[in-house]
Symmetry: C2
Subunit: 216 residues, 2 copies
DNA sequence: CGCCAATCGGTACGCTGTAAACTCCCGCAG
DNA sequence: CTGCGGGAGTTTACAGCGTACCGATTGGCG
């Protein structure tokens, strides 16, 4: 679908416009607010007009994902050290996912590996480029990229849910009740503990494990 | 909501029954197939009857998540080595999530940190117990648990999507076209490469980074 | 000019979550 | 025993969803 030509006439809509509107709605009201009718309204069109540009709603999600993937493509030259370069890319992924908290949900929602869009391909290409200085086989490099991006997406999934939650008093009360039961002593001991975010710490651990010699 | 007493009359339905039916439907037909009407039909009831046991559909997702979380609670005694114990728990998480591919999606779908159910609390308690032998502050232990489970959920999110996909020929053709363009040389070089799964490898890297002294 | 294909609109169908009001019927107070 | 409170389950209804199908419009090209 990435290769399908756009209209040749002169439309009042465009795929780019639709995707941007969808991303804006998702950013401000969540993924569930992204409905065909809603996006059409947003653009002053009728629902069915969108189907000139996408085949089904899932396509729209794919396009939204790739739209945001653009933010994960590093702009300038990569740091010369593979480690710094990889960290920089992981940070871009994290920041994009926190800016668009619906992102991981959209990825998880897609029934199968969504077709990779051009921005996602550029992102992957540059993730590989970051490892150029590393003496490793392609298979090993691929494993490293997967490990780092797996960690990043998991961390970001948790982080963005934590931010959305901010634990209303009700949940806290419930948690207290549970821990007061004494069934979870270690958890109880953790209730007041510092929960400063630890994305960077975990990333450091992972990279140290990959390459112990230049651990930080 | 976990504490709310169940009915005292004599119902033909039960919360447990509803949740099990929902998990079964999600397992075999995906999360989208879990609708109130569908589950009710599955149980020979009418849609609105379910609302005696849950307040809204999101509650059902929470209950399903905790139902599956039971499978991530280790049964016997934990390995004495914190490292082995942590690996064992991570494997349970992975296997449960692969058995129920909708799981990560359900977690991502929940608008905020869902209320922790009893099974999730037991899982967390035992994750902490696994680190008992480790000389570390509670904050550090919490960070370790988060790093490991972040990595695990990210890896499993990717893995289950890969399994669902198995890349139909169409996608492969598209990918070929993209890489033939020459814009992604490193990716192109990777096309035929071995993609053996690497969950264990990444987990080893992470644990080695956490504790270099007993690296494997 | 005539044609074609792209674009957009309208209508309709079967689905969704759930609010509101209803019918039962059990267990208990008098 | 009667009466009744209240919980279980049902019915109906509504607004919204994705999208199949068809018709109207229109601009570019032969």
């Amino acid at each position: 679908m990435w290769t399908r030509a756009e209209r040749k006439q002169r439309p009042t809509l465009s795929r780019e416009q639709i995707v941007r509107a969808a991303v804006a709605v998702a950013d401000s009201e969540g993924l569930d607010a992204v409905s065909i009718r809603r996006i059409a309204t947003e653009l002053g069109a009728r629902a069915m007009s969108l189907y000139t540009y996408i085949e089904r709603k899932e396509d729209l999600f794919d396009l939204m994902i790739d739209e945001v993937a653009a933010e994960t493509v590093p702009e300038g030259p990569l740091p010369a050290q593979w480690r710094e370069a990889t960290i920089a890319i992981a940070r871009l992924e994290r920041e994009a996912a926190l800016r668009h908290p619906w992102l991981i949900g959209a990825i998880a929602r897609r029934s199968q590996t969504s077709t990779l869009g051009p921005n996602m391909l550029r992102h992957l290409e540059l993730s590989l480029a970051a490892l150029d200085p590393l003496p490793a086989t392609p298979t090993e490099k691929w494993q490293i990229i997967r490990a780092v991006s797996d960690y990043t997406s998991g961390a970001v999934l948790r982080e963005s849910r934590e931010r959305a939650g901010t634990a209303g008093g009700h949940d806290v009360a419930h948690l207290r009740a549970m821990t007061d039961s004494g069934a979870y002593p270690r958890l109880t001991a953790l209730l007041g503990v510092d929960r400063r975010d630890s994305f960077e710490q975990g990333l450091r651990w992972l990279l140290n494990g990959i390459s112990p010699e230049d651990a930080s």
